[in-house]
């Protein structure tokens, strides 16, 4: 287990040295990859010294000096928080997000803020005001989005762990494209306090790592009920790390895994082959594998985006330039706000704000907004039905391989359709993960697992099972 070795190493060598190695890598390679918007080196070095002292007294927190990067839509006080946008180009967060607090408490070293699609509106990492992030595996290709920088920072070895956010696949997609591990927790498991809102009923922060162990380690730190986010749920007291450590090869046969045929429709043949192969591996280890149906999958993108548009336009109304962010000025309060928003927001952001405003207007909301919300329960029920009989749902994360940078910018519908396999988890509020299981033409392929809401342990077991059955780690 890679991350475990990393920690053992840290405890016996030097936290500062480890940090400096990372800083060197970043200085050498990030100009090209562009995974960071802001670095917090001074603060990180200070923290490293403190943590070393704690380690020497054996009083260190769970993260023991691991280097962590954080998506730039999550608040880290005194560092810029841009959300990948001109709107917040010079905004310095005056407070810490809950996840930031928890990471600092457990002695993680926050090295910097990661690049992302502007306000999380994108699936390939090319819509940031601060320039696209490149896929570290092949610099000509997109890293996926919207947590593009987070995934890239892991793949490029700039950080040990990372925190991103997932609204409709924004963790799993870049994890798949960059060949790293990404985990979308169940809605309500991780506090959203400090995560710039995009679609409030769908999103939440989540971990990136190089293995299941790293995911579980970070999950133990960031999950839990938070009075600063009323949707958070009390989690059970078991340790996710222990769950992963205790899971053995012989436990694979206890897993009941479903795969939905709809999850394979329209997927690249090469990707299908790899995924089916991995499913076969699990089967040969004794797991029960059965086919199920998700008949409403074809509506998922429509329902998802209608909900996103409505919530996003509400979330974005706070940006008027008065209290923070870009400000154009104007002769009256209407003009000042309108030109501020016009000049600062990117195209996709504007598109979603306008659409969201439209579909929540009195005269049309029954047709779009209300309809989408009623349809959402259909998706939720489909998953409930499956998890009544199965522990896990298995399939590919993305229908295609990463595309070349610049290939898909123009048509929004083409961009939206990339999310077909990931949005359902957010609509239903369940947990889901992506882990690398192979390459096609040198480009990573991700395998996605779903488990029922609040069943993080089951999902982690599934991820570990895939790791073991793959003969690795």
């Amino acid at each position: 287990m890679f991350t475990k070795d990393l920690i053992d190493n840290l405890l016996s060598s030097s936290v500062e040295e480890h940090l400096h190695k990372k800083i060197e890598e970043i200085k050498k390679k990030d100009k090209e990859i562009n995974s960071f918007i802001t670095l917090g080196i001074e603060e990180a070095e200070k923290k490293a010294k403190e943590i070393q002292k704690k380690i020497d007294e054996n009083k260190q927190g769970k993260l023991s000096g691991l280097v962590i990067s954080i998506k730039d839509n999550i608040a880290v006080s005194n560092l810029r928080m841009t959300c990948g946008s001109k709107v917040l180009e010079n905004y310095i967060a005056p407070y810490d997000a809950t996840v930031t607090n928890l990471i600092k408490k457990e002695d993680g070293i926050i090295i910097g803020k990661c690049n992302m699609d502007e306000f999380a509106c994108g699936s390939d990492g090319t819509s940031s005001y601060f320039g696209p992030t490149k896929n570290p595996v092949n610099l000509d290709y997109v890293p996926g989005g919207s947590s593009s920088g987070s995934a890239a920072s892991i793949a490029a070895d700039f950080s040990d762990l990372s925190i991103g956010s997932d609204t409709g696949g924004s963790i799993r997609c870049p994890a798949s494209f960059c060949g790293v591990y990404g985990f979308k927790p169940s809605y309500g498991m991780v506090s959203r306090y400090g995560l710039s809102d995009m679609a409030m009923s769908l999103e939440g922060p989540g971990p990136f790592a190089k293995d299941t162990y790293g995911i579980a380690l970070l999950l133990d730190v960031i999950t839990g009920k938070d009075p600063r986010d009323t949707v958070t749920i009390e989690r059970d007291s078991s340790s996710y790390l222990k769950t992963v450590e205790d899971f053995k090869e012989c436990d694979i046969k206890n897993l009941k895994i479903a795969y939905a045929k709809e999850f394979f429709e329209g997927v690249d043949e090469e990707i299908k082959k790899i995924i089916l192969d991995k499913i076969g591996n699990l089967e040969s280890h004794g797991a029960k594998i059965e086919e199920v149906s998700l008949p409403n999958l074809k509506y998922a993108i429509s329902i998802y985006y209608l909900v996103v548009f409505s919530e996003f336009s509400s979330a974005m109304s706070k940006f008027d330039g008065f209290k923070y962010g870009h400000y154009s000025g104007g002769q009256d309060i209407v003009e000042a706000v309108s030109s501020t928003r016009e000049t600062a927001m990117g195209t996709e952001v504007k598109r979603r704000v306008l659409l969201g405003t439209f579909i929540t207007m009195e005269e049309v909301r029954g047709k779009w907004y209300t309809k989408a919300l009623k349809a959402r329960s259909v998706i939720k029920d489909d998953f409930k039905r499956i998890f009544n009989s199965y522990d896990l749902l298995i399939g590919p994360t993305m229908p295609t391989l990463p595309w070349k940078i610049g290939e898909r910018i123009s048509d929004p519908l083409a961009m939206y359709s990339a999310d077909i396999l990931t949005v359902s988890a957010n609509l239903a509020g369940v947990c889901a993960s992506s882990q690398p299981v192979g390459k096609v033409k040198g480009l990573p392929v991700g395998l996605q697992l779903h488990a029922n809401s609040l069943s993080e342990s089951k999902l982690l077991k599934g991820m570990r099972a895939v790791e073991i059955a793959n003969g690795g780690m």
């Binding site: 608040a75 949707v231 706070k318």
Partner: protein
């Protein structure tokens, strides 16, 4: 029949109010900042939540705010809806609203009544900050202070009654201990229609007096239009405090689509029947029940009872006084003389110096004949102003009446001795002589002889004179 309703009968006035009051709490509604923002320098009573920093989320709704709102609703006779309610986002752009949406809940209680006016619904919402239009300055200190919005039915039938309604409503809310802010200050949206025409909305009137003036102005303005043969179209107007007139708001701002959505950051809230009972049990007696009880327990007339319950502090004072005096008398004096004096001086029981002891003491002196009714009216006025005790005031003003038999008999004897002609006139059947002799006694005592006793004793004495 409402106050002055008769005056406006021909106009068929329909007036409804949407009243905003600040709920008394220590913290703001969705964050831990102080809700006591008045003395804070600008933008110093703020946090990431009430300034809507990116990533901030509302904390759970302030429990005390909700409780205070429930107290208001139950006190006004409303019923809870029996199902969960959401806090919604009401979207509009304005510099004093950091999120550019206001968090405002669905109705929590409804279907009540206060002073004959229906209470349609009550809900909770967050106060925005302050935007000084003319100076272009914004202060966010007030953002997030909890507000109750009370929406009445259009049952008010005169500007005078609107004023009285609001005054008494605020007094009741103060009495409940659930609101903050001086009793004169409220924020109200005023709705008025005349002669079955379209409804005019006047937004953001900041005082009880303002509501009265705005309504008076609107009636004049609308009547003039109708007399010219014009029509009243539905619109939203603004009340200018300085000039005491209403003005039309820009057309743009009157067409509002708030695009309400349930706030995804705040889970639904359900007020259980148990919670309702719990709050009901600690509520002071409602005006309605108090009136019933006053009539039953103290045999008060309905008009007296109504006058007492319109000011609950007055009602309390009456009951306290009634412990040590005749309730009917106490009720009468409190409901008429005392109330009148307070209104004249624009005071309430709580802001004046009058106490229950004043009333019961005064009634005692009257009963013993030591204080005339006429003088008692002066005493009340002084007590309201100075708070000095009744005996002190009686001394100061020399109001002590002589009603002790011994004292009176002594004087009567003297008068009879000094006025033999009058005595014999009376003996021969001249009633006027009695009045003459009575007048002498009055003069001798500088008006302090208690009249009815004096007459009786005089008569008796005269009859024993032979």
């Amino acid at each position: 029949m409402q106050l002055h309703e008769e005056k406006y009968k021909d106009l068929n006035l329909k007036i409804g109010l949407e009243i905003h009051v600040q709920l008394k709490t220590d913290q703001k509604i969705f964050c831990e900042c102080s809700s006591d923002y008045i003395n804070s320098p600008p933008n110093n009573n703020i946090c990431p939540i009430c300034t809507s920093q990116p990533g901030s989320k509302p904390m759970g709704l302030n429990e005390k705010a909700l409780e205070n709102l429930l107290k208001i609703g139950l006190f006004l006779g409303c019923k809870a809806h029996g199902k969960p309610f959401y806090v919604q986002r009401k979207h509009y752009f304005y510099p004093d609203l950091p999120s550019n949406y206001q968090r405002t809940s669905q109705p929590i209680l409804g279907d009540g009544n206060f002073m004959g006016v229906g209470i349609w619904e009550i809900h909770i919402e967050e106060d925005p900050g302050r935007y000084e239009l003319r100076e272009g300055k914004v202060d966010l200190n007030r953002c997030g202070v909890p507000l109750a919005e009370i929406v009445t039915a259009p049952d008010i039938k005169s500007p005078e009654y609107a004023r009285e309604f609001l005054r008494d409503l605020l007094l009741s809310l103060e009495y409940l201990g659930v609101i903050r802010g001086e009793s004169g200050s409220i924020r109200a949206d005023v709705n008025i229609s005349i002669m079955g025409g379209n409804r005019i909305e006047i937004k953001n009137v900041n005082s009880v007096k303002g509501v009265y003036k705005a309504l008076k102005y609107e009636i004049v303005r609308q009547k003039a239009i109708l007399q010219r043969g014009g029509k009243i179209s539905m619109e939203t107007r603004h009340f200018d405090e300085a000039s005491m007139i209403t003005k039309t708001l820009r057309k743009k701002e009157t067409v509002a689509d708030y695009r309400y959505i349930p706030d995804p950051d705040l889970v639904p809230i359900y007020v259980t029947p148990d919670k309702i009972s719990e709050i009901q049990s600690v509520l002071p007696e409602s005006p309605h029940n108090k009136k019933k009880r006053f009539i039953e327990e103290y045999s008060l007339g309905e008009e007296i009872a109504d006058a007492l319950i319109s000011d609950l502090y007055l009602a309390d004072l009456f009951e306290e006084a009634a412990k040590n005096s005749n309730p009917l008398e106490a009720g009468k004096w409190c409901a008429t003389e005392l109330k009148r004096r307070l209104n004249e001086k624009n005071l309430s029981v709580s802001t004046s110096k009058i106490t229950a002891k004043h009333i019961s003491d005064m009634l005692g002196f009257i009963e013993r004949g030591e204080l005339s009714v006429k003088n008692a009216k002066w005493i009340i006025e002084d007590a309201v102003d100075t708070g000095e005790s009744i005996p002190t005031l009686m001394d100061k003003k020399n109001f002590y009446q002589i009603s002790s038999e011994d004292a009176l008999i002594k004087i009567i004897d003297k008068i009879i001795e000094d006025n033999p002609k009058a005595v014999s006139d009376f003996m021969s059947g001249n009633q006027n002589a009695l009045h003459f002799l009575f007048g002498k006694v009055v003069n001798e005592t500088e008006g302090r002889a208690e009249p009815s006793k004096t007459i009786k004793l005089l008569k008796d004495k005269l009859c024993t004179v032979s």
